[in-house]
């Protein structure tokens, strides 16, 4: 079975300094990742690890330095104009901040209908009907399509953003931290809405998050990212139950336990995440790694290798 979305060795480096002669920023440094149709694949990692760069590459908002991103076995960055129109219908996105992702000068109707207006030739009436249906699906009233974004709350705005992502019946939606800008009381509603939509419509989600609770609730598959690389990937329950990479272990141990009586020793990492300007030699995690096993960590970059039902890139697991 081929994956709906497949990233192979995807990399994006940014140049710095005058005329780009400064050091490289390796925002994304060779990522392999697969998203199957209908599943939710979560990518977690701390700020600056490259999650959003990856999302922008998949959405064809940016071009990779190396590697390939394929949707439906077609290279996203080499699509013909006609194919690109299909791609725009098939892949949609919901961004983090619902205050920034809606045009303040556009009525909800036009915001939600954007994909239809841009890629189809439906009549005004048909578009209105589709918008009304999409708004109902996200539990807003169809007559609210005449309003402007500032008339809505944050949660409602995120519903509008979700409606506009749904309108073209996409097969994949990139959710870039869809709830992290919302009040805690609203997060559950939006997460339930997303889960229901997926159950009813069967589209795949690529969820980008740093919040483990969201991830746990929504994800089927989890990939953990560190400094522009995937360090561990596998089924969500497997990764959360038996994290194998030392970084994953630290990340999961840092989250608050759901039961305050459980005895969980938090693993405190040394130092800060290094700047992607100077990624350490060998395993990028070795300067902070609590399980450092010797010079191999300083010299060899570990590859993703199967370990149980997950894949891990760590020398601890490479034998």
């Amino acid at each position: 079975m081929t994956a709906l979305l497949e990233l192979s060795r995807l990399a994006r480096h940014f140049t710095t300094g005058l005329a780009g002669r400064g050091p490289f920023v390796r925002a994304l440094d060779g990522v392999d990742l697969q998203v199957q149709a209908g599943e939710t694949h979560a990518v977690i990692g701390e700020s600056g690890c490259g999650k959003t760069t990856m999302a922008r590459l998949i959405l064809n908002l940016d071009r990779p330095t190396a590697g390939k991103a394929c949707f439906d076995d077609q290279d996203i960055h080499a699509l013909s104009a006609k194919r690109l129109r299909w791609f725009r219908r098939d892949v949609q996105a919901v961004f983090q901040d619902p205050w920034a992702s809606l045009n303040p000068r556009m009525r909800v109707r036009d915001t939600v209908a954007e994909a239809l207006i841009a890629t189809t030739s439906l009549s005004r009436k048909e578009i209105d009907a589709r918008v009304a249906r999409a708004l109902e699906e996200v539990e807003l009233r169809p007559d609210q399509m005449r309003n402007f974004p500032h008339e809505f709350s944050g949660g409602q705005r995120q519903r509008i953003a979700i409606a506009s992502a749904l309108i073209s019946n996409p097969r994949l939606i990139i959710l870039d931290e869809p709830v992290s800008a919302l009040d805690v009381s609203i997060r559950a509603q939006i997460m339930n809405l997303l889960k229901d939509l997926q159950r009813d419509r069967g589209m795949a989600f690529l969820l980008i998050a740093h919040d483990l609770a969201t991830t746990r609730f929504l994800a089927d598959q989890v990939s953990v990212m560190y400094l522009g690389r995937i360090v561990e990937t596998g089924p969500a329950e497997e990764v959360f139950a038996t994290p194998r990479h030392p970084y994953t272990r630290a990340l999961i141990s840092a989250a608050l336990p759901s039961d305050p009586d459980t005895d969980s020793a938090e693993i405190i990492l040394k130092g800060e995440s290094p700047s992607p300007l100077s990624v350490p030699q060998g395993c990028p995690f070795h300067p902070r790694c609590p399980c450092f096993i010797g010079s191999i960590c300083e010299t060899d970059r570990p590859e993703l290798q199967s370990s149980g039902r997950s894949q891990v890139s760590c020398h601890l697991h490479s034998r």
Partner: protein, 276 residues
């Protein structure tokens, strides 16, 4: 924050000095602005010993100052309206393009802006007047040349920040074309800025036009533009001060009220103040 109440006094002044006369000059002017009354040369205004026939006095050819000022308003309005529309349109379009396309387009446009800021407008006007002869179109050309750069620079700056906003990314993901993103997402969000700038620049244009006319490189004589009227009284400033004084006052009041209106408009249209 300044008061957002409608500024009644500047508005009234504007109607009284600029808009009213521009529309109604033919009806309300007591005399033909070009007609000389040689027996009534250099008549002082009524409150300085003159008669009621020439309320604001006459110039050295005996032409009625009041009538000339009223007719001059027409030229002030025509030149500034056409100038501002052309200048704002050209500057905004180039700014939009530069900010959105970036790269070498941006570099070229911004260097042109720098050049335009570096050239003294009066010098340019002199050159144009020498090449084409003083004319209405030459004045317009100078005005557009002076205006476009500030619009281009301001609009480009806003577009640079707008194009990175999430709603533009969302529109691209939805498949919107560049044209649609520019016209539906970016332009509406810089429209307020353009409106406010246009209002504030109106005053600048009226002053510029007056300067050019005063130097004799504006709209050619005997058209009664305000700058020319001020220039007419140059030799008589001591003996017949009213020839220059009243057109000067008209310029002052117009520019002042336009600037006050522009400030008010800026407060009203600033989305940061509005959305709270």
């Amino acid at each position: 924050m300044a008061s957002s109440r409608l500024p009644v006094i500047p508005l009234a002044l504007l109607v009284l000095v600029l808009l009213g006369p521009a529309l109604l000059a033919d009806l309300i002017a007591p005399h033909d602005p070009y007609q000389s009354h040689l027996r009534n040369r250099l008549q002082p205004p009524v409150f300085a010993g003159g008669g009621w026939e020439f309320i604001l006095g006459t110039d050295r050819l005996g032409r009625c100052i009041l009538s000339r000022i009223l007719h001059g308003a027409r030229y002030a309005v025509a030149i500034s309206a056409v100038g501002i529309v052309l200048g704002a349109a050209l500057g905004s379009a180039l700014g939009l393009l530069a900010g959105y396309a970036r790269g070498w387009t941006d570099a070229v446009v911004m260097r042109l802006v720098d050049i335009s800021f570096a050239l003294p407008s009066v010098l340019l006007a002199l050159a144009l007047a020498v090449v084409f002869g003083p004319s209405f179109s030459a004045v317009l050309a100078v005005i557009v040349f002076v205006l476009w750069a500030s619009f281009a620079r301001q609009v480009r700056g806003e577009v640079l920040s707008l194009r990175e906003r999430d709603f533009v990314a969302r529109a691209r993901v939805a498949g919107a074309s560049h044209l649609r993103i520019l016209s539906r997402h970016i332009l509406p969000n810089v429209a307020n800025t353009i409106t406010v700038m246009a209002t504030l620049q109106l005053g600048v244009i009226i002053l510029l036009e007056a300067t050019l006319s005063f130097l004799g490189i504006g709209v050619p004589r005997p058209t009664p533009t305000w700058g020319l009227l001020v220039a007419d009284g140059r030799q008589f400033v001591v003996s017949a001060w009213w020839i220059s004084f009243f057109p000067g006052l008209a310029i002052l009041l117009s520019v002042l009220s336009i600037n006050l209106l522009g400030d008010w408009l800026r407060d009203r249209l600033d989305p940061r103040l509005q959305q709270v």
